[in-house]
């Protein structure tokens, strides 16, 4: 059966605000899964809590809607239990970098074969507009009426220095480009981080589609090779009048699952009906 965007219909309609960047990410993800032939029964999407996390209701795949910030640990547990199962994490900037910051760093360090898509809009939309960890200095929100005073977190540099083996940035207003990045990210064997710049049309009147479009440019294959960590970091801190999108860093390394000797003979889940054998162990205690 051919997998298309329609394969994921649930009969539920999105509740996101009209014009929300989440639509572009959702559309891109459906198209990417179609291109990868990952159908509703074939993979697991683990969602966090935030506007992004409501996506499952109109996205028919196996879904785990976890606790705020805790999507990555759930995804890693599922992946270790069944490492042949495609596992994708749909998260947000508050979910992944605020409440779940520690999990993000350690997931990157372990390099599980999981793709995380960060809906990065600088605000907490679901709680009606407070500053997120990526909110830029000076940005006025309900929790920062005088403007954000802290430095913003940079998901890309954090991912790179933490050990992620695929780090990219896309734009919710460019579904075609974003689909391509998602396909690459999911195909990558290892921990792939895709930060998606996304306007919040309700709580952010500054970072609009137009604001992004006038600044974004693509890292082109001709003059940028995503193989140098230091160069990737230099690119990742570019912000202001010119903001790069594309693949910043990519390397091949053994995954978390590759390093588990117990998985060499197949997924743990294939052993789920059998008791353990203690015969060889008991003598140790005698």
């Amino acid at each position: 059966m051919t997998i298309t965007a329609d394969s994921f219909k649930t009969g539920y309609l999105p509740t996101w605000c009209p014009g929300c960047g989440d639509y572009g990410i959702w559309m891109s993800l459906k198209n990417a899964l179609g291109e990868l032939s990952i159908g509703p029964d074939d993979g697991l999407i683990v969602y966090g809590i935030g506007c992004h996390g409501n996506m499952y209701d109109w996205m028919r795949t196996y879904g785990f809607i976890g606790l705020h910030g805790r999507a990555l640990p759930v995804a890693q547990g599922a992946k270790l239990a069944n490492h042949r199962l495609p596992v994708i994490v749909v998260s947000g900037d508050g979910d992944c970098l605020g409440e779940g910051g520690n999990h993000f760093i350690h997931a990157a360090k372990r390099n599980p074969d999981i793709n995380v898509i960060i809906h990065d809009n600088q605000v907490y939309g679901l709680t009606t507009g407070q500053a997120s960890p990526t909110a830029k200095a000076g940005f006025k929100t309900k929790s920062t009426p005088e403007g954000v005073v802290d430095e913003p977190m940079n998901p890309l540099t954090l991912a790179i220095v933490s050990g992620a083996t695929f780090v990219a940035r896309g734009f919710a207003g460019d579904p075609l480009g974003l689909t391509k990045l998602m396909v690459e990210a999911v195909r990558h064997k290892g921990f792939s981080v895709l930060d998606v710049l996304q306007p919040c049309v309700t709580f952010d009147k500054v970072h609009t589609y137009g604001w992004y479009r006038s600044r974004l440019y693509s890292l082109s294959a001709s003059d940028y090779a995503p193989t140098d960590k230091l160069r990737a970091l230099t690119k990742a801190v570019e912000w202001g009048d010119h903001i790069p999108v594309g693949i910043f860093y990519r390397e091949e390394k053994p995954t978390s699952e590759d390093r588990e000797p117990a998985l060499a003979e197949g997924p743990l889940v294939s052993q789920r009906e059998s008791q353990g054998n203690l015969d060889s162990l008991l003598e140790e205690f005698q």
């Binding site: 759930v74 270790l80 239990a81 999990h103 000797p261 743990l268 008791q275 353990g276 008991l282 005698q286």
Partner: protein
């Protein structure tokens, strides 16, 4: 506790019943460290308050333990540490100076080798053949190479020979002969939990290091490859429980283990397991709280915590093993119950159980376990019309068949939000009510599996000691000493291994027969007695509570039972 383990295993191999426990401060090295080994020709359940042989590797050890000696106890010490004289003791121990440091120097060993020499001295004093300890030393150190085996044997031998040559009169004065009846293992409670988990088909464990469950980590990590299990060290306990839930949802039996502080971090995840109905086993090794407390000491302070932990209302099971043998069987039971009811199941252990070493017949660990994974959706029975209802409401026991991600036509959402039968979010009032009832129905369904409290002694006895978890050992030890009777009145023990859902009817029936009930707990508030009051109305007036971090001694139990009410 290597020397203690070797001593215990040596005597266990010879047919003795052994029990060993350790006490140490929360330091990496140094401080006062002791291991106490009790060796008996009959079945024993605890330590005694008195010491027969005190093996002192420094002066402080004698200072701290001389009150535990009786007339005739042997004190082995190195005169280079302090030259103890009879006048230093209020009782009359036999003083046995042994040049431990001198023997180390003779063998060109490191100071730590005094442990091994002391082991040889102890075996010599107990009058058993050296071959007993020789075989254990060989088996314990063989992985480290022949040279390590040879040196350890040489030092143990030098201690043994010192006794043979210099102290012939003391040999064999403390232990009666016995014969070996069967193969017996000597293992810690943590290791027994590990064996139980592996036997039960556990495939995934995410455990952040914390005293007192660290030897469970060692056991699982050491054997991960051969047993085809994954032990993952998470970044914190929050990640640990969420990883285990992820593995559980993906289809494998999974567990976490921690102590009270780590469990406090897991509470949010516990509630998640309750909501998505994920089978999960949580081994909570209690230690002294609150906060960081006294990390290496024992307590039973978390009974009410685990029963009430987690936001919202959802079912759970709480089991409390009393020793290593029960830790094994209840761990298996915990995995079976978790799958059957799709709920979190607690193993409420403590430092004393986890780190003490118990002797258990090998056959106890050898029976096959028929895994019952509970209600699982069969792929061939699933319709292709996207209609699978993971959280189906059509079951009287509240348990609905589950599918695993990747299974054809089994798609659903495991949702931390309140959800409908498929897993879509729903805040509709009728659905909410039905889902709460679905989950809570499991509590009444569980009643058919409840293990009733165990009774030791005459069920009709007038005096009853109430225990749970590790307090059973010292209480049984005490009452066996007096034949389960005090001053002509029979005394029994009503012991709870199954804590929650509370076996109210069985508890009420058993306790209503007694005219005097004594609640024995290792905490300051009598948490089990509160539970009994809550569920049966029975108010227990007399409590023997200990919360100084040290386990009960049988003598303390007898003092209480024999005291006039």
């Amino acid at each position: 506790m290597s020397s203690g383990t070797i001593l215990a295993r040596a005597f266990s191999r010879a047919g003795y019943c052994v029990f060993a426990t350790n006490e140490y401060p929360s330091l990496i090295r140094g401080g006062h460290n002791i291991v106490t080994v009790r060796i008996a020709t009959r079945e024993i359940h605890a330590l005694e308050g008195v010491v027969d042989i005190l093996m002192a590797l420094n002066q402080e050890t004698v200072d701290l333990h001389k009150q535990e000696l009786h007339d005739g106890s042997i004190v082995v010490f190195d005169p280079k540490d302090y030259d103890w004289q009879a006048s230093d003791f209020s009782n009359k121990p036999v003083l046995v100076p042994v040049p431990l440091r001198g023997l180390v120097e003779q063998g060109a060993g490191e100071p730590v080798m005094r442990n091994t020499i002391a082991l040889g001295v102890t075996v010599g004093l107990l009058g058993v053949d050296f071959i007993l300890v020789e075989s254990v030393i060989h088996d314990q150190f063989t992985k480290k190479g022949d040279e390590v085996v040879r040196r350890n044997l040489a030092f143990a031998r030098s201690g043994y020979d010192f006794v043979k040559t210099n102290l012939p009169a003391l040999q064999g004065c403390h232990i009666a002969p016995t014969t070996k009846k069967e193969d017996v293992l000597v293992l810690s409670g943590s290791e027994a939990v590990g064996l139980g988990a592996v036997r039960a088909g556990m495939r995934f464990a995410a455990i952040y290091p914390m005293t007192p469950i660290n030897s469970l980590i060692t056991f699982l990590a050491d054997h991960a490859k051969e047993l085809r299990i994954v032990y993952k060290q998470p970044e914190d306990e929050i990640a640990g429980i969420n990883m285990a839930i992820g593995a559980s949802i993906a289809g494998v039996r999974s567990m976490v283990a921690t102590s009270g502080g780590g469990f406090a971090l897991m509470v949010e995840g516990l509630s998640l397991a309750g909501m998505v109905e994920a089978p999960l086993v949580i081994d909570l090794g209690m230690r002294v709280g609150p906060a960081t407390g006294m990390p290496t000491w024992t307590e039973q302070g978390e009974l009410q915590f685990v029963i009430h932990a987690g936001h919202g209302e959802f079912p759970r099971v709480v089991l409390a093993p009393a020793d290593a043998a029960e830790a094994y069987t209840l761990t298996i039971e915990a995995f079976q119950l978790a799958d059957k009811y799709q709920v979190p199941v607690f193993l409420l252990t403590d430092k004393y159980i986890n780190e003490s070493q118990w002797c258990v017949p090998k056959t106890h660990f050898q029976g096959d376990v028929l895994l019952d994974r509970g209600k699982i959706a069969q792929t061939e029975a699933l319709a292709s019309d996207v209609s699978f209802s993971r959280y189906s409401l059509g079951n009287d026991d509240g348990i609905s068949p589950r599918s695993f991600p990747g299974q054809k036509h089994g798609q659903y959402f495991a949702n931390s939000y309140e959800h409908n039968e498929v897993g879509h979010v729903s805040e509709e009032p009728m659905n909410r009510k039905a889902m709460v009832q679905k989950r809570l129905k499991k509590l009444s369904a569980m009643s058919r599996d409840i293990l009733p409290p165990s009774v030791y002694g005459d069920p009709e006895a007038g005096v009853t000691c109430v225990t749970w978890g590790s307090t059973r050992g010292p209480v049984l030890e005490a009452l066996e000493r007096v034949g389960f009777a005090v001053g002509g009145t029979r005394v029994n023990v009503v012991h709870f291994s199954w804590i929650y859902p509370f076996p109210a009817a069985q508890a009420a029936a058993l306790l209503s027969k007694s005219t005097r009930i004594i609640d024995v707990e290792q905490n300051a508030t009598g948490q089990l007695s509160s539970l009994i009051r809550e569920h049966t109305g029975i108010l227990i007036q007399e409590k023997l509570l200990k919360y100084d971090g040290r386990p009960f001694f049988p003598e303390e139990i007898l003092d209480k039972v024999q005291s006039v009410k």
